[in-house]
């Protein structure tokens, strides 16, 4: 099957795929060696490997999908894929299960029971795709006629690529709504991105050079459980822990995780106080003269003048790539002694000094952090305090340090969106209405998303009421804090759900337009931040769709075609996602990948395009660009400002000029004095609730991104530490239990200010006595036969509190009480 035989008809394409297999067509065929040659053995079927990209988490591991007789029977990592390198995490193998989930929607459905509720059967009936798409288009056309396009919103989750979630921006522009791309990042990790941006100018997760680092100081990132890309992290771990010298690892967390248990040190910190610990480590590094002088700079005399409690004259220190070190010291760090931090964090001062010594004297070293420190109201200041350590030890853009992810040189789409913006869309944008989630309003000038606010905002009617709400790869009804609010909010909204699975949101949907699962899709997947060099995977359908589903991109395009006016014309031009991908692949003709991918066909064959190396590097305080064979091309400070430190000063700002622009806002929301707003600093977290125990709901490797809830195999191996196979246990210290007359195995009631759930206790002597842990995962009331009614959902009792700066939910910051149920 050659390129010409791909028709623009999606359906035919898929049928053709099913018959011969795309991968089979282009040559990468592995025929299993023959089994017994005995007579009577059934005719041998060919086993084909089709390239795809895993969708169990955002890491984008390239996968080999094994297909025989039109059935997928195995998934392994792709050997020549830079992220997976032939490996997978546990979730990766369960993709076949996602494909053949017996609870999937068989095709488009409409609701016939107008009542919505947990105990209301939606009474879905099958409809044709045409009816489904026409129904949606009719609603949207009606909104356009009334000039109420803003009342259509699209909530997206883990959709990637220009052929997928990337289509929604244009959809919004053409249609005329500011709400076509409402992401879920405010319940993911917005605070870490924002904290980094405030200091180094990059609003992004970093890329990391783990293999070359000799010290990893990890604040609340479940490196071996959920931190992305998990598969690559684990590969790096195996290397780091057996190389010479062995990479030393210190983990700061609130519970005994596998990451912490496998590390050299595990500091069990009081929830939300990671920032204090980081500041104390900075204090030790400075007072003991352990900072990287080539990156940070030094005192004029070369003599260390940092003394605890003593203010310094900024002119005594010459800074190189940082800005505001002495001001920061004077304003904050001088008083942040290990003894001070011990009182806040509960970590003994001696342990803090020990870790600071190790971190400060081992190079390369890096400090990483994620939701442990950032899902609190002091998220940004915790994050900044930690990220500052990377400047102090000079790890930014260094070997064994942190960098940023480069983009993919995709081909441009041949259809110019601006040519198709009609009067209706222009009129809508002229009204400059805010997004329904109030992002970038005075309420959240630095928010990227605020999915957890939408139910309240809609019910308040501020800024307006929604009319039609489409969900794509997100189930906020299960996963946002105080999640039951959605059940009230969705009562008067026409809900369109695209999930192939009968989740909670689907149970409130009026229309189901089910998506393909990833093994049935054709889709591009540019990489998640990884090692910096650009990389783009491709999903190639392994089998004909199991059910009458449609890939989300095509659903969106098909809806677009049915919208009146120029918008419909645009989408008729686009045709389908395959055309989009072919246009993207044109970009590889000029930029062939290291593995020879230079066209759509080669992309299909290899499943990934990538081009090494990363372009920039900091060596001993000097920045260089790759010259084709090495990092030898010196960079000017202007280059660095343009490409690497995209801050006002072009430096790593220990006094954030960006944040100082919002001094009034921060002062009003968090009470930080205006002149201190820009410094990484200790700000006590605002715990929610009147309880006496912290409730934390971390992720485990089997369930890290929430896709395993209805996979019995995953449920049966659900483990560390409190997931005792088949049931989720609540970790509780025996002393805390005894004080509440709770015994091992008791069913207990966990009460927050907004509600209560039950869970079964597993006494865990290794746990912090002030913290209870209920790993995230179970507690669905829908989502399929295995997921349903397996424990209770902690999201129902976590109050909806967010970090006012980044908008990230503060959902590890809840205080609860526990009693015997």
């Amino acid at each position: 099957m050659g390129e010409n035989e791909f028709t623009t008809n999606r359906r035919k394409f898929l049928q053709a795929t099913a018959v011969t297999g795309v991968a089979g067509a282009v040559g990468n065929v592995l025929t299993e060696p023959p089994q017994a040659e005995a007579a009577g053995t059934p005719a041998k079927s060919e086993t084909k490997i089709v390239k795809n990209v895993c969708h169990q988490c955002p890491a984008r591991c390239g996968i080999d999908v094994y297909v025989t007789d039109g059935k997928v029977h195995a998934i392994y990592g792709t050997l020549d894929h830079p992220i997976s390198n032939g490996k997978l995490c546990p979730k990766g193998h369960f993709g076949t299960y996602i494909l053949y989930d017996p609870d999937r929607f068989p095709g488009p459905m409409k609701r016939t029971n107008p009542k919505k509720g947990r105990n209301e059967d939606p009474k879905f009936v099958r409809i044709s795709w045409d009816e489904a798409l026409t129904t949606i288009a009719a609603r949207l056309n009606a909104l356009r006629e009334k000039g109420e396009q803003h009342r259509f919103a699209l909530l997206t989750g883990r959709g990637w690529g220009n052929s997928d979630a990337g289509l929604t921006d244009n959809f919004g522009k053409l249609f005329g709504t500011p709400n076509a791309t409402l992401g879920h990042s405010s319940m993911c990790s917005d605070a870490s991105k924002r904290a980094k941006q405030l200091m180094d100018g990059n609003y992004a997760y970093n890329s990391y050079d783990y293999r070359n680092t000799n010290y990893l100081l990890n604040f609340g990132a479940a490196f071996l459980e959920a931190y992305r890309p998990l598969n690559a992290n684990m590969q790096a771990w195996g290397y780091m822990r057996t190389k010479a010298p062995r990479t030393k690892v210190t983990v700061v967390d609130i519970r005994v995780t596998t990451t912490g248990a496998a590390a050299d040190h595990l500091l069990l910190v009081k929830p939300g106080t990671d920032g204090a610990l980081a500041l104390a480590i900075a204090h030790v590094i400075l007072t003991e003269g352990l900072w990287d002088k080539k990156f940070v700079g030094d005192f004029g005399e070369g003599k260390n003048l940092f003394k605890a409690g003593a203010t310094l004259d900024p002119s005594t220190f010459t800074e190189r790539w940082t800005k505001g070190l002495i001001e920061w010291w004077n304003a904050e760090v001088k008083d942040r002694t290990p003894e001070w931090a011990a009182g806040i964090t509960t970590i003994p001062a001696a342990d803090i000094v020990k870790v600071a010594h190790e971190f400060g004297t081992t190079r390369p070293a890096m400090a990483i952090f994620e939701r442990g420190p950032t899902t609190h109201t002091n998220a940004i200041y915790n994050g900044m305090s930690i990220h500052a350590l990377n400047a102090l030890v000079g790890s930014m853009y260094a070997v064994g340090g942190l960098a940023n992810q480069m983009g993919v040189p995709y081909g441009a789409l041949p259809w110019k969106v601006d040519d198709y913006i009609d009067e209706a869309a222009k009129a809508a944008s002229a009204r400059k209405l805010p997004r329904i989630d109030r992002v970038k309003t005075s309420e959240g000038p630095l928010w990227s998303n605020m999915i957890q606010g939408i139910p309240d905002f809609h019910m308040e009617g501020k800024p307006y009421k929604l009319d039609t709400l489409m969900f794509y790869l997100t189930n906020p009804m299960f996963s946002t804090p105080d999640c039951t609010r959605w059940e009230r909010a969705l009562q008067d909204i026409f809900v369109i759900e695209t999930s192939p699975f009968p989740g909670e949101t689907a149970m409130f949907a009026d229309l189901i337009v089910p998506d393909h699962t990833y093994l049935e899709r054709l889709q591009d997947t540019p990489t998640y931040p990884f090692q910096g060099f650009p990389l783009a995977g491709l999903r190639v359908p392994a089998v004909k769709p199991v059910h009458e589903t449609k890939v989300f991109g095509d659903t969106l395009i098909e809806i677009g075609k049915r919208i009146n006016g120029k918008m419909g014309e645009y989408y008729r031009q686009v045709g389908n996602v395959e055309n989009v991908i072919r246009a993207l692949a044109k970009g590889f003709e000029k930029n062939p990948g290291d593995n020879g991918v230079n066209s759509f066909d080669t992309w299909v064959e290899k499943g990934v395009w990538y081009r090494k190396p990363y372009s920039w590097r900091q060596i001993n305080g000097e920045f260089f660009e790759w010259d084709g064979s090495d990092y030898r091309k010196p960079m000017t400070p202007e280059d660095v400002k343009k490409k690497l430190f995209m801050t006002e000063s072009g430096k790593f700002e220990l006094r954030s000029s960006y944040l100082e622009r919002y001094a009034d806002f921060v002062n009003a929301k968090l009470g930080v004095p205006k002149d201190r707003v820009g410094f990484p600093q200790w700000l006590p977290p605002n715990y929610s609730g009147k309880g006496d125990l912290f409730l934390v709901t971390p992720k485990t490797p089997i369930h890290a991104e929430g896709r395993s809830a209805n996979i019995p195999q995953a449920i049966s191996i659900y483990q560390p530490v409190s997931g005792g196979r088949n049931e989720m246990f609540l970790e509780m210290h025996p002393k805390a239990a005894k004080a509440r007359h709770i015994k091992n195995g008791d069913l207990v009631r966990i009460k927050s200010d907004i509600g209560s759930i039950t869970a079964r206790v597993h006494l865990t002597p290794a746990a912090r006595p002030d913290t209870i842990v209920l790993p995230f995962g179970f507690g669905h009331w829908a989502q399929g036969r295995w997921a349903k009614n397996r424990g209770e959902n902690a999201s129902a009792i976590i109050p909806n509190v967010s970090d006012p700066i980044s908008g990230l939910t503060s959902n590890y910051s809840t205080l609860v009480t526990v009693e015997k149920a």
């Binding site: 299993e32 023959p34 089994q35 059934p42 041998k44 079927s45 029977h73 195995a74 392994y76 990592g77 050997l79 390198n85 032939g86 490996k87 997978l88 995490c89 546990p90 990766g92 193998h93 076949t96 494909l99 053949y100 017996p102 071996l224 998990l230 598969n231 684990m234 590969q235 771990w237 195996g238 290397y239 822990r241 057996t242 005994v256 596998t258 912490g260 248990a261 496998a262 069990l268 490797p701 019995p712 195999q713 995953a714 449920i715 049966s716 191996i717 483990q719 530490v721 196979r725 088949n726 025996p734 006494l763 865990t764 002597p765 290794a766 746990a767 912090r768 006595p769 036969r785 295995w786």
Partner: protein, 257 residues
Amino acid sequence: MPRWGMVIDLEKCTGCQACTAACQMENCRLPGEMWQDVLFYSEGEYPSGKLTWLPRPCMHCENPSCVAVCPTGAAYKAENGAVLIDWERCIGCKYCMIACPYGVRFYAEEKQKTQPDIRDVFPAKGDKVWDPPYKMPEQVQDPKHGVGVQPKNVVSKCTFCYHRTSKAPTGLKDLDPNDPATRKFTPACVVTCAPGARYFGDLDNPESNVRKLIAEKRGTRLLDQTGNRPQVYYLAGEAPVIPETRSVRKPKQSPET
């Protein structure tokens, strides 16, 4: 003929259970039927609690007690060193499950801990336990070597992925999952192990990588006092995480009491 053996480096193992997942899917196992399990052990109290884990495949013993007790010869030591079950001879007496010191044998005819029972969701026609849609292709299934979807009422166990390893060309010292030439012959758990904690090779070849690892990193065997002489070796490195006990024995002065 090689005598395949496995080396597991506990210093690298992250306890992620990808080996368990890969094995379950490759070998059509029921939920909870973990040929390749990862066992967790926890002791001690905050702030110095200890958590360790041990990946546990079948040990494919040189001297397998399970084979010795089998009354029908269904349990046997294959020519390539694997301990296998002939599903066409097994009578389901379960004596091998009693006699295995490592608890690595399974009998599917039990109440399923993960409900609803998946066997009712994907029911089999005829004599098989179930019929998962993602089952191993028919031509790879091999009941004489205990490979594939199993018949009812027989005992099952890890086969060292016999359907993969038995196809390896002769003369290989090691089956390296990172080598495209040997990857497809390597057991599923070894192929997928992200930190690269697993090695698979010929224990009879003094030049194999597994032999070198056992020598250099002082490979050790679980419960060697049983005399079963496992063909799975553990490297404990700086992290001696081989469990002190096989089970759950709690100290008398447990803080839980």
